[in-house]
C-alpha cells in the first residue's frame, strides 16, 4: 500500500480506536449522562471507521466486511438500533466476495448482539410510537395521544439514547408542549449524535429564535453566518427565516442588516436547492424580503406567487406569512426524513 494512504488509513482507525476505549469507560460508569456521552463517541468512532475505508484506493472485500462489522458494532454499543440495522444491510452486501468461513468468523461476535438489540428495539417500538413517528413533526395528535407517545418515546430513549431521530422527535413533542429548554436540549442531543446532518442543523436554526433568549439566538445565528455561502440549501432557508424573525424586535438599522443577511442566505440556498419544494420556499422568502425592504407588509399573496398556493389555500388569508413560512419550512426536509426512516 502507498505509505501516505496507509498513514491516513491508520490514523483514522487509531482515532476511532481511542474513541471506543473512552466510550467503554463511560459505559462502565453507567449514569444516563455518561451513557449518552459514550453514544456520541461511538457514533464518531463509526464515522472514523468509514473514513478510514474511504482512504483506501482499493479495498479488499474482507477488509470492507470487517470495517462494516466494526461500524455496526459501534452503533449497537452506541445504542442506535436504526443505524446498526442500516449498517447490517451493508454487511450483507459486503459478505459477497468473502469466503463463508471467514465471514462467519468475522460476524461471530456481532451477530448475537445485533439480534438481541433489534428484538429489544422492536419491543419498545409500540404501534402508538410508530404512528406518532409516521405522523411526522408537523401533525398534531390529540393531547392524550401525545402524552402516551411521549411516555413510549421516553422509554425508548432511556434504553436507546443513541437514536438521533428519536431525539428530534422528542424535540417536536417538547415544542408542542411549549417546553423551550426541553426542545432545545433534545435537538442538541440529536445534533451531537449526528453533527453532519444538515436537517438537524436547519431545525436548530428554526427553533433558536423561539427556544433561546435573544442574545443566545443571535449568537447561534452568528455562528452559522460565516459558513452560509457553502451551507446546505435547507440551512440557508431556515437561517433566512430565523433572521427575519429576529429582525422583528430589532432597531431599524439592525433590522436592515438582518434582512440583508437573510437575502444573502436565500440567494445562496436558491443556487444549490435540489428540490422544487425547497426552491419554492426560498423564492417565497425572497419575495418576503422584497416586501420588507420596500416597506410593504408581506401578505399570503407571496406564497401564491412562489408556487406554494396549495399550502396557502389551507391557511387563513390574514395569517402572518412569516409565521406560516417558518412553521411550514421546518417540515420540508424533516417530514421527508421521518417518512423514509419509518
Amino acid at each position: 500500500m502507498n505509505p501516505v494512504v496507509h498513514d491516513v488509513y491508520e490514523l483514522s482507525l487509531a482515532s476511532s480506536g481511542k474513541l471506543k476505549l473512552r466510550a467503554k469507560a463511560l459505559l462502565a460508569e453507567g449514569t444516563p449522562d455518561a451513557v449518552f456521552r459514550a453514544c456520541v463517541l461511538l457514533h464518531e468512532a463509526a464515522r472514523g471507521q468509514r473514513r478510514a475505508i474511504y482512504a483506501l484506493p482499493t479495498c479488499p472485500p474482507v477488509t470492507l466486511l470487517s470495517s462494516r462489522v466494526e461500524e455496526c458494532w459501534c452503533f449497537v454499543e452506541g445504542r442506535d438500533p436504526l443505524r446498526a440495522a442500516a449498517t447490517w444491510g451493508e454487511i450483507m452486501q459486503a459478505w459477497e466476495g468473502v469466503e463463508d468461513a471467514t465471514a462467519g468468523a468475522i460476524l461471530s461476535r456481532l451477530a448475537p448482539q445485533f439480534r438481541a438489540v433489534q428484538q429489544e428495539f422492536a419491543r419498545l417500538a409500540t404501534p402508538r410510537l410508530i404512528a406518532s413517528w409516521n405522523a411526522g413533526p408537523g401533525v398534531s395528535l390529540s393531547r392524550t395521544e401525545d402524552a402516551k407517545a411521549r411516555k413510549d418515546l421516553d422509554a425508548m430513549l432511556a434504553r436507546f439514547p443513541g437514536l438521533a431521530n428519536f431525539w428530534a422527535m422528542r424535540c417536536h413533542l417538547a415544542e408542542r408542549d411549549g417546553d423551550k429548554p426541553g426542545a432545545w436540549d433534545a435537538l442538541g442531543r440529536a445534533r451531537q449524535l449526528d453533527p453532519g446532518d444538515t436537517t438537524l442543523a436547519a431545525l436548530a436554526l428554526g427553533l433558536a429564535p423561539w427556544a433561546l433568549p435573544p442574545a443566545e439566538a443571535e449568537q447561534h445565528l452568528a455562528g452559522v453566518w460565516g459558513t452560509i455561502e457553502g451551507a446546505a440549501p435547507d440551512i440557508c432557508l431556515m437561517y433566512a427565516l430565523a433572521e427575519v424573525v429576529l429582525a422583528r424586535g430589532a432597531r431599524p438599522d439592525e433590522r436592515a442588516l438582518r434582512w440583508g443577511h437573510a437575502r444573502v442566505a436565500a440567494g445562496a440556498g436558491q443556487a444549490r436547492a435540489n428540490s422544487l419544494r425547497l426552491r419554492r420556499y426560498l423564492t417565497a422568502v425572497q419575495f418576503l424580503l422584497d416586501d420588507l425592504f420596500a416597506g410593504r407588509e408581506p401578505t399570503m399573496e407571496i406564497l401564491y406567487r412562489a408556487g406554494l398556493g396549495e399550502a396557502a389555500a389551507m391557511e387563513k388569508p390574514d395569517a402572518n406569512v412569516v409565521d406560516f413560512l417558518t412553521a411550514h419550512a421546518r417540515r420540508v426536509s424533516p417530514g421527508a426524513e421521518f417518512g423514509e426512516a419509518a
Binding site: Y9, A14, K24, P60, W73, I106, S108
Partner: protein, 89 residues
Amino acid sequence: MPGRRVAHMQMGMAPDILFDLTPGALRGVETAGRTSGGRAALATIRNGTGAPARGGKRAQLLARVDLAEVHLSLWCAAPRVSIMERLKP
C-alpha cells in the same frame, strides 16, 4: 509482545489488538479473561463448547483468511492462570 506497537483496538470482532493494519493481512492478538474457572474456563474459550465444539476462538481465528499473524492470549484471575498461543503463521 515486546517491541510491538499497538496500532488499533477493535471491539466488534477478533483480534482485539492489532499491530499491523495492512488490509487483508492483519497482525494482532485476540484476548479474553475470566474471573474464575482456571484452565477449564480458558479451554472453553479456546476450543468452544459442545461436541462438535462451537464458538471456540481458536477455530474462528484459524478460519480467517485476512489474518497474516495472530496470537491468542487468555488469562484467569483465580486461580491465576494464563495461556499465550501463536495461531498464525
